[in-house]
Symmetry: C2
Subunit: 144 residues, 2 copies
């Protein structure tokens, strides 16, 4: 097949052809199935993607720890798949999840707890939805 | 500062410290401010981020074309910023946008127009919200 035919098949076809990057990863966006909020952006390798589809529990691949990871396995803040969608070129996945508790390792519901403000004196952040649902020091220290 | 103090400042501080990857890029998730749907996942370099904040029009950096790009400059399908948020480690941005028309180059409102189905015989995709709002052949051919 030509490159252009490949592209057309990938974009318009119904074959599942995830396009992993040079590191073997896809980008994943998890949103809260109830509120629609973006909870987190993370990555999946082929195994994480396969386990997520097979189990309905969300698995990621941690680039910093270079390890497969079931979301919530340490913190208890698991994610159940409600719906998974693939994007046009099949290199990004959108997962609508049922989030148990908080998605962020800082204890917040979403990782996106700060807004970008373009003030006169330069760009700053400001807190929004920044209440913690758990104390990370307590939750993660139990596991060490 | 120690690495741990750096991390704490990046996660809990209000200083805008975007963490670009080795290619100089951040990951951006654009959602429809009205429906909450994820429209697309793309990237920004420092200049795209700066122009987006300054203008309120969304700019991205295209990895395939290696070029800065104002969303909609070819297709007319622009995005206006409603709100921008930064994630915990400041390497991903969530932008709620007012989408003019369709976000996807295939003519669909969102790039995520296919669901992942785990059927018995293997994983497949199925169309969802796949109506085209414009004909890409027509829209993009005007510019060549």
């Amino acid at each position: 097949m030509s490159t252009s035919a490949d592209t057309k098949e990938r974009e318009e076809g119904l074959a599942f052809q995830p396009k992993f990057d040079a590191s073997g990863l896809l980008t994943c966006v998890a949103t809260d199935a109830v509120t629609g909020d973006v909870l987190m952006v993370a990555h999946m390798n082929e195994e994480a993607l396969r386990k997520t589809i097979a189990s309905g529990d969300v698995w990621y691949f941690s680039r910093s720890r270079n390890a497969l990871w079931r979301k919530g396995e340490t913190s208890g803040q698991t994610q159940r798949v409600v719906e998974m969608r693939m994007d046009c070129d099949q290199d990004a996945v959108w997962i609508r999840v049922e989030q148990q508790g908080a998605a962020c390792h800082t204890g917040r519901h979403s990782c996106f707890y700060r807004m970008i403000d373009a003030a006169d004196g330069g760009t700053r952040l400001s807190f929004i939805d920044a209440d913690r649902q758990f104390d990370p020091a307590e939750v993660y220290s139990k596991q060490t």
